[in-house]
Symmetry: C2
Subunit: 186 residues, 2 copies
DNA sequence: CTGATCTTTGAGCGTTTACTCTAATTTGAA
DNA sequence: TTCAAATTAGAGTAAACGCTCAAAGATCAG
């Protein structure tokens, strides 16, 4: 894994894994398909990755890192900023965001590694939304703000999810509608 | 499929299929597991069902029929009624509702039969919510009411989905929060 | 009881899965 | 140029998958 050729192969494998998981989901993605799309034979795959799961985890980590960008700004962003960032992620990284939705949705199947990572990510994300919610509506109680924040995050996921079934679905419109409703209350 | 024994076996197979899909999802449910849980051998399964997919489709149809009860009342129910009915479905039919969420969410995988059925169901459901929305807020334009109705349905699914990862998750609270937000706007 | 029909048995089919192994080739620092 | 280390090729493994089938057993109308 030190030579240039190996690193290039690794990238090709990750590209293939990303698009295949986006297209077919976790269980629908096979080693054979990855190798074919990457132009590689199984021996090469297993020279660079210990298992199929390791390649998938790598791609999922990418997706999780991409969904909550600019962590330096944490503590200053508004709910609107957060939702806008999510919409941008969905629109500008179609493959990666499909990976994210598929995993977040299926509960990562039978992989404890992925499940744990996703649960922790969800908690952190709710916390970030919750902080923004409290900043925007200081009159809300602690627990109420947290629950409303979680409602918003989960509802956003439900909306993003629909794009997997209907590629022409207008995610941005619905996400903004949701945000407006939440803002109208507070 | 006419003798009493066959009908009982059929029920046992459907019970097993329902709980296994609820627990492990579509791809995680195998013929072997179904047969073991139903106390049946593969030959018996295939005497009653043409394929694994047929058994699953039967269970999914159950779930779809259960999520929108009392179609006779269509045209009179309020948004609150519809959301309350959904919450009741989620709470009173845990296994069936998990099947519903898993299928609706994953896009039914690679089964065109299931995908088509789910798409049609979603459209009908949105139409029903949309009608209730127009009744409640006549001042909204046609398309606006429809889009808001779809936002609500999808957000509800996003919330219900989280219960698959966290069984203790308070679906009812979050669903009601969503409804209040939507109501506060109109 | 008879006998046609339905049900169950359980070994086993062919395919696909993730993954391994050895030998050949390529790489790039010294 | 040398040569150990990294990378590839590609046949091959064992296990799991959905599913089949012939034979034995259970059911129930006539």
């Amino acid at each position: 894994m030190r030579y240039k050729a190996g690193l290039e192969t690794r990238e090709r494998i990750l590209d293939a894994t990303r698009s295949l998981v986006a297209e077919n989901g976790l269980d629908g993605t096979t080693i054979k398909a990855i190798c074919e799309q990457a132009g590689v034979l199984p021996g090469s795959f297993y020279n660079l990755f210990a298992s199929k799961e390791q390649a998938i985890v790598t791609v999922v980590r990418e997706a999780i890192d991409a969904v909550d960008p600019d962590p330096a700004h944490q503590g200053t962003d508004s709910l609107h900023d957060l939702v806008a960032a999510y919409i941008r992620f969905l629109e500008e990284s179609p493959a990666l965001s499909r990976v994210y939705i598929r995993i977040g949705v299926s509960g990562a199947g039978s992989s404890p590694e992925l499940s744990g990572r996703m649960v922790r990510h969800h908690e952190a994300r709710v916390a970030r939304f919750s902080a923004a919610m409290k900043r925007q509506s200081p009159e809300l109680s602690e627990t109420l703000a947290e629950r409303r924040a979680e409602t918003l995050v989960l509802a956003l996921n439900g909306i993003a999810l629909h794009r997997i079934i209907d590629p022409d679905f207008d995610v941005a419109w619905h996400a903004r509608a949701l945000l407006e409703d939440a803002a109208a209350v507070s």
